[in-house]
C-alpha cells in the first residue's frame, strides 16, 4: 500500500539544532535549509528547537543537527555538549536521526585533542576519537566522494576541510568508504561514523542539499522515530529532486577530476 503525502496531513518532525549560532563555519545551515524545503515537498512539517549555550535540551527529538566550528568555537561548547552526552546517547539509542558535521562530528565522539594539545570531552554518541596533528601537518582540504554504507543512500559528495584526524573505535562503523578525497584520517579509507540513525561526517558543501538520498533517509528515520516503524505517517513516497540531482552529479564529477583517488596507506 502506498500512503500518499496528502493522506497524512499534519505529520511533522521535531528537529533540534545544537549551537547553530556558534558551530556554523562551513555553511552548515544549508543542511537545515534543504531539510525544510525537502520535508515540505514530502508533506512533512519541521518544528525546530534551537539549543545554544546555557539552554536545556527538550524532552525528545526526532532529528538532531550540529555543524562545524573552529577550535575556539569547539572549546566554547565542548563541556556543555559533553554534559548533554548521556541524553544524546539515549536519544541515538532510541533511534533519533542525527547529523553531526566536521567539528560537530569530532565532539560527538569520545574526545578531541585540539591543536594546542587540550583534550576536549565529547558527547560519546560515536566510538571515535580525534587528534589534531602538529602545526606542520597539512589540513585535509578538498572535494570528497564516498560510498555510503547505509543501504539506499549510495554515493555521497561534498567538501572536507579539517585538521583533526579521526579514528574509529571497536564499537564504531564508518558512514562511508572514501573513493576520492581523504576522509576520517587519510589512512584507512573510512569516512565518518554511523550508529543506528545517527551519522557523523566530515562532508560539508553543504551536505544535505546535494545528497537527496541521504536527506530522504534522515527524514524517513525521523518519521519512524516519531510515529513508529510501521505507522502510515512514517512512509515517504519516492519523489524526484531534479535540482539536487544535477548539483550532485556536478559535484561528483568535480571530485573525480580534482581529488586524489583514495589509496590505503600501507604500514
Amino acid at each position: 500500500m502506498t500512503v500518499g503525502d496528502a493522506s497524512t496531513p499534519g505529520r511533522a518532525i521535531r528537529v533540534v539544532t545544537l549551537y547553530d549560532d556558534v558551530m556554523n563555519v562551513y555553511a552548515d545551515r544549508g543542511n537545515l535549509i534543504a531539510l525544510r524545503a525537502r520535508a515540505a515537498e514530502h508533506g512533512v512539517g519541521v518544528e525546530v528547537t534551537a539549543v545554544s549555550l546555557g539552554d536545556p535540551l527538550p524532552p525528545d527529538a526526532d532529528l538532531v543537527l550540529i555543524g562545524g566550528g573552529q577550535d575556539r568555537e569547539q572549546r566554547r561548547i565542548a563541556d556543555e555538549l559533553a554534559a548533554h552526552g548521556p541524553a544524546l546517547r539515549a536519544w541515538a539509542g532510541a533511534g533519533t536521526a542525527m547529523l553531526a558535521v566536521c567539528g560537530g562530528f569530532q565532539l560527538f565522539g569520545r574526545w578531541y585533542r585540539d591543536a594546542s594539545g587540550t583534550e576536549l570531552p565529547g558527547a560519546g554518541v560515536f566510538d571515535v576519537t580525534t587528534l589534531a596533528p602538529g602545526p606542520g601537518a597539512a589540513r585535509c582540504i578538498g572535494d570528497i566522494l564516498a560510498a555510503a554504507e547505509i543501504a539506499g543512500v549510495g554515493e555521497v559528495v561534498g567538501f572536507e576541510n579539517h585538521g583533526g584526524r579521526t579514528y574509529l573505535g571497536p564499537g564504531a562503523y564508518p558512514f562511508a568508504r572514501v573513493e576520492f578525497g581523504r576522509g576520517n584520517n587519510g589512512e584507512d579509507g573510512t569516512e565518518g561514523a554511523v550508529y543506528r540513525n545517527a551519522v557523523g561526517t566530515y562532508l560539508h558543501g553543504s551536505l544535505l542539499p546535494k545528497n537527496p538520498a541521504l536527506l530522504d533517509w534522515l527524514i524517513a528515520a525521523a518519521l519512524r522515530h516519531r510515529y513508529g516503524e510501521s505507522a502510515p505517517e512514517a512512509t515517504l513516497t519516492p519523489r524526484p529532486a531534479p535540482y539536487a540531482e544535477r548539483a550532485h552529479a556536478s559535484a561528483s564529477a568535480v571530485a573525480r577530476r580534482r581529488s586524489p583517488k583514495f589509496e590505503p596507506v600501507v604500514k
Partner: protein, 474 residues
C-alpha cells in the same frame, strides 16, 4: 630624496627586464592576462625586489587589506592622491599577492631599475589578507588600512581565526611611525589596537537609519578576545556595527571618520561625514553601504597622509568604479553592470543593494555566475551562508552560469527562486540573460572572481571597451 642604497642591484635590474619580457611575450601569444607572469618571473629571480620597491616610494607605502573592498578602496585612495597631485604607485586590480606588487614595480621602472619621480610617490597596494603578515616587514607601511574580516575561501585559509591571529603578531612588531586605519564597526578589526605601538585612525557609520532589522547569518565575530559574547546597539552588515562586549565591557571606539547620515541610491550614495569634527558631504560613486565603508576607509587613509578634506571630497565625487566592481556597459540597449561576489558578506551586501535599487516591485534581472577555481574558492558551500532569500518575493529573473551553475541553481531553488535557465557557458549565458532583460532595462551580473573576469571580457568586447589585460596592465 632617494638614498644611494635605494639603487637597484644588477640582479634586480636583470629580473625587472626579464619579468617585463615575460609579460610582453604572454600578451603577444594572445594569452589573456599577462598580469601575473611578469611579477612571478621577476620576483623569483630577485626576491629582494619587493623591499626595493617599498624603499623607493619616497612618500611611503599604504597597504589596504581585508576580506571585502580592497580593490575599490585602493582605487579610491589612488584617485584622491592623484587629485592631490601625487602620482600613486599601485598594483593592477585584484593582483594582490607578492607577484602583483612586483608587477607594479616592473610597470613603473626606468631602464636603470629606478622608479620615475620616486621621491614624490606613494605606494598604494592592496594586499591579500593571508599574505600581509609575511609582506608587512618588507613593505614597512606608513599607513595600513584594515577594512573587515569575514569568512572567505576557507579552503585556502583554513580558518578565519588564523588570519586575525597572523595580523596580531605582525602589528605587535609594527613601529610607532605606522598609522593603522581601522574599521571601528568590525570588532575583529577594531580590536587590533591591542598590543601595538602604531598610531590609529578609526572610521565607521553612525546612522541608525541604515541598520539591519536583525542579525545576519554571515557573522564571524560573535565572541570578544576576552571570550565574552558581543552585543550590538546597531548591526550594519554581518558582525559589523555598534558593538560592545557583554563580559569585559570593551566597546566600539568612536570613529574619527564617521558617516553621520547615509542616503543610499541605486547607483551611489550621498553621505554626510565628520572627519575629526569637520562636516563634509561625500558623493560615493558606487551602490551599497559596503561602498560607503570603502569610501570612508580611503578618506581616513588620505587624511592620515595629510590630504586636505576638500580634495578628498572632490576626488571621491569624480572617481568611477574600479575594474569589475560595479562597472557598467551598454549592450543592445541594455545597461549591464558587473558585480563581484565571492563570499557571503559581499553577496549579502550586493543583494541588499539590488533590492534597494529596484523599489516598487520593479523586476531584477540577474546573471548569477559561480566558478570554483583557486581564486574563487574551490569550496562552493559559502553560497549557503549568503542570504539569497532576501530576493524571494521580489520579481526576479535569474540565469545561473559558471563551472558550478548546477550548485548555484540548487541554491536559488532552495531560496524559493527557480532559475529561468541554467547555462554553464559564459557567452551563451550572457545571450540568455540579455534576452530576458527588456530593452532599456538593466542586467546585473553577479559573479565570483574568475567568472567576473570571463564575463567582463565578453561584455567589454560586446560593448567595444578595452579587454582585461589592456586595461589592467595598461
Amino acid at each position: 630624496m632617494v638614498a644611494p642604497s635605494n639603487a637597484p642591484t644588477v640582479r634586480e635590474r636583470a629580473a625587472l627586464i626579464l619579468g617585463r619580457a615575460a609579460g610582453t611575450a604572454a600578451r603577444r601569444l594572445g594569452r589573456g592576462g599577462g598580469t601575473a607572469l611578469p611579477g612571478l618571473v621577476a620576483g623569483a629571480l630577485a626576491p629582494s625586489l619587493l623591499g626595493r620597491l617599498a624603499r623607493q616610494a619616497g612618500q611611503g607605502v599604504v597597504t589596504v587589506t581585508g576580506t571585502n573592498g580592497k580593490t575599490t578602496t585602493t582605487h579610491l585612495l589612488a584617485a584622491i592622491l592623484r587629485a592631490h597631485g601625487v602620482r600613486p604607485l599601485t598594483n593592477p586590480s585584484g593582483s594582490n599577492l607578492e607577484r602583483g606588487l612586483v608587477a607594479a614595480y616592473i610597470e613603473d621602472a626606468l631602464p636603470d631599475g629606478r622608479i620615475a619621480d620616486a621621491e614624490h610617490r606613494v605606494g598604494v597596494f592592496e594586499v591579500d589578507e593571508a599574505v600581509l603578515a609575511r609582506l608587512f616587514p618588507r613593505l614597512h607601511p606608513r599607513v595600513a588600512v584594515f577594512l573587515n574580516l569575514f569568512r572567505d575561501q576557507l579552503d585556502r585559509y583554513g580558518e578565519v581565526d588564523s588570519v586575525g591571529e597572523g595580523w596580531g603578531g605582525m602589528l605587535a612588531r609594527a613601529s610607532r611611525d605606522c598609522t593603522l586605519v581601522l574599521n571601528a564597526d568590525d570588532p575583529s578589526i577594531a580590536q587590533l589596537t591591542h598590543g601595538t605601538h602604531a598610531g590609529v585612525i578609526t572610521f565607521g557609520v553612525d546612522d541608525a537609519a541604515v541598520r539591519l532589522p536583525r542579525a545576519e547569518h554571515a557573522s564571524d565575530a560573535r565572541f570578544c578576545r576576552c571570550g565574552g559574547r558581543f552585543a550590538y546597539d546597531a548591526i550594519y552588515m554581518g558582525h559589523v556595527g555598534v558593538w560592545r562586549c557583554t563580559s569585559c565591557g570593551e566597546r566600539r571606539p568612536v570613529p574619527r571618520v564617521s558617516a553621520r547620515r547615509v542616503a543610499l541610491r541605486p547607483d551611489g550614495s550621498t553621505v554626510e561625514v565628520a572627519i575629526d569634527g569637520a562636516l563634509v558631504t561625500f558623493e560615493v560613486p558606487m551602490a551599497g553601504l559596503y561602498s560607503v565603508y570603502n569610501a570612508l576607509a580611503a578618506a581616513a587613509a588620505a587624511h592620515a597622509l595629510g590630504v586636505p578634506v576638500t580634495t578628498i571630497v572632490r576626488a571621491l565625487g569624480e572617481a568611477g568604479p574600479a575594474f569589475g566592481r560595479q562597472e557598467q556597459f551598454d549592450i543592445d540597449g541594455r545597461k549591464v553592470r558587473v558585480l563581484l561576489a565571492k563570499n557571503p558578506a559581499g553577496m549579502n551586501e550586493l543583494l541588499r543593494a539590488l533590492v534597494a535599487g529596484a523599489p516598487d516591485g520593479q523586476p531584477v534581472h540577474l546573471l548569477a555566475m559561480l566558478n570554483d577555481g583557486v581564486q574563487d574558492g574551490q569550496d562552493v558551500s559559502w553560497i549557503y551562508d549568503a542570504d539569497i532569500e532576501v530576493l524571494a518575493g521580489h520579481p526576479v529573473t535569474v540565469t545561473c552560469s559558471g563551472d558550478r551553475a548546477d550548485d548555484f541553481a540548487l541554491r536559488w531553488h532552495l531560496a524559493g527562486i527557480d532559475p529561468a535557465a541554467v547555462v554553464p557557458d559564459t557567452e551563451a549565458a550572457i545571450d540568455d540573460a540579455l534576452r530576458r532583460t527588456p530593452a532599456g532595462g538593466r542586467l546585473d551580473v553577479v559573479a565570483t572572481y574568475t567568472a567576473m573576469i570571463d564575463a567582463r571580457e565578453a561584455l567589454a568586447r560586446r560593448a567595444g571597451v578595452a579587454a582585461y589585460w589592456e586595461k589592467a596592465a595598461r
